[in-house]
């Protein structure tokens, strides 16, 4: 999907995305020449069509997590997965979690909690963030499209 600024005859740049948690999806695009911004607002059916393909509008920031599609879309039991972290040969230093962030993570349903933790961890690691705080989680939710998780 591409957006064209008719006045400038220029392709608009993807700027941001937002999933407010009501099943809808918003993506913002900005013209690189005149700076005009537009937002594409998708209804729950349109959002679901994209979600059902397992793709992300605006591109994928991090590699797909194991069983990410299933964990995001299936209503499964809380204890289905046990996240055992990295393979020892590929283990690397992970960012620390603040107590507040841990408390917030505990409110995520168990079926997806381990995957969400890994996604936040990947997000922070890729950006050199040493400690995951609620503010970091807020940023990751917006940038990674995790609002519904």
């Amino acid at each position: 999907m591409k957006f064209l600024c008719l006045d400038c005859d220029a392709q608009m740049d993807f700027a941001d995305r937002h999933q407010p948690g009501d099943g809808t999806f918003a993506a913002a695009f900005t013209c690189p020449r005149c700076g005009r911004s537009v937002a594409m607002l998708a209804n729950p059916m349109e959002t679901q069509m994209v979600s059902a393909l397992g793709v992300q509008i605006g591109g994928r920031e991090l590699d797909e997590q194991p069983m990410e599609f299933v964990r995001k879309n299936l209503l499964g039991r809380d204890d289905a997965f046990v996240d055992e972290g990295e393979d020892p040969p590929t283990a690397r230093r992970r960012p620390q979690w603040s107590a507040e962030a841990e408390q917030r993570l505990a409110r995520v349903p168990g079926f997806v909690r381990g995957m969400v933790k890994r996604l936040y961890g990947e997000f922070a690691f890729e950006r050199g963030i040493a400690e995951i705080t609620p503010a970091v989680m807020d940023r990751a939710r917006t940038e990674l499209g995790l609002e519904e998780m």
Binding site: M1, M45, M49, G59, L74
Partner: protein, 281 residues
């Protein structure tokens, strides 16, 4: 504002930030990469429900494992997952690194099933808007099958059996996700109704260029426990008729036995595996 003149998607030179097509290609590449160490992927299909397809899958898997082969089973019947239980595979799925470790069942068979994911006694349900579910249900189910194939650490396998839900749709779903699928085993019971139904599925297989490796006729009579005489359960001879019509081998005719356990398959299954392996060569 005057007449609006736009250009097509392909007229715009800059890339599509979402790269949806590339994301889909990456999904497929992941499946291919994970299955690279699997020598053969074989689907187990039937047009009709209730013919014992999962029973056949589990029995073939254990019989092959006892022959010393490394075997995996994907339970693609998301709505009614039964093969994991037949193989005594249960428990939580360990996520290690970038993949999920399959559970191990009877005979050392590696298993992935929705049975590990669903709440006990609860039906399959997705996070989705309440209306018009039929629109994306197919995409969701194929997405789950993709994850079962591509997100699981199958390791080196001689054979990965995919137990499909009843009907012909699953056949094409697997072929789309795994273009290198070696073929399919069709399962029927002797009845004329089953023959008609399974024939449709076998035709769908052949028309899509897939090889039907053979047939299993399940519930092919039973042996009376008192007089030991063989008796028929259903009128018809669907196994032989389908084998002739499609020129494929009848791998096994399995009599009904209420005490039969897939975890302990009998000689007919051992013979069926031998014939199947011949067809795979």
């Amino acid at each position: 504002m005057g007449p609006v003149t736009t250009r097509s998607y392909f007229d715009l030179a800059d890339g599509d930030r979402s790269r949806v097509l590339e994301q889909v290609r990456a999904q497929r590449a992941r499946v291919a990469e994970r299955l690279a160490s699997v020598r053969a992927v074989v689907t187990v299909a039937s047009g009709k429900g209730g013919v014992g397809k999962s029973f056949a899958t589990a029995s073939l898997a254990v019989a092959a494992a006892r022959r010393g082969l490394a075997i995996g089973v994907v339970d693609a019947d998301l709505r009614s997952p039964t093969v994991a239980r037949m193989l005594s595979a249960e428990g939580r799925l360990a996520v290690v690194g970038d993949r999920v470790t399959p559970r191990v069942g009877a005979g050392g068979v590696r298993v992935m099933s929705a049975d590990f994911l669903l709440e006990k006694g609860r039906p399959l349900a997705w996070r989705e808007p309440a209306g018009e579910r039929f629109v994306w249900r197919g995409a969701l189910e194929v997405g789950a099958l993709r994850a079962f194939l591509g997100d699981v650490d199958w390791g080196a396998l001689d054979l990965l059996l995919v137990d499909l839900p009843p009907g012909a749709d699953g056949v094409s779903d697997v072929a789309t996700l795994v273009p290198s699928v070696a073929g399919a085993v069709a399962v029927t019971i002797p009845s004329e109704e089953s023959r008609r139904s399974v024939a449709r599925t076998m035709r769908a297989l052949t028309e899509s260029g897939q090889k039907v490796l053979g047939l299993v006729e399940n519930m092919a009579g039973y042996v009376c426990g008192d007089c030991r005489r063989a008796r028929s359960l259903f009128a018809g001879a669907a196994g032989a008729a389908l084998a002739q019509e499609f020129a494929v081998p009848l791998l096994a005719q399995i009599p009904f036995d209420p005490a039969a356990l897939p975890a302990d398959p009998g000689p007919p299954w051992t013979a069926a595996v031998e014939r199947l392996l011949e067809r795979l060569q």
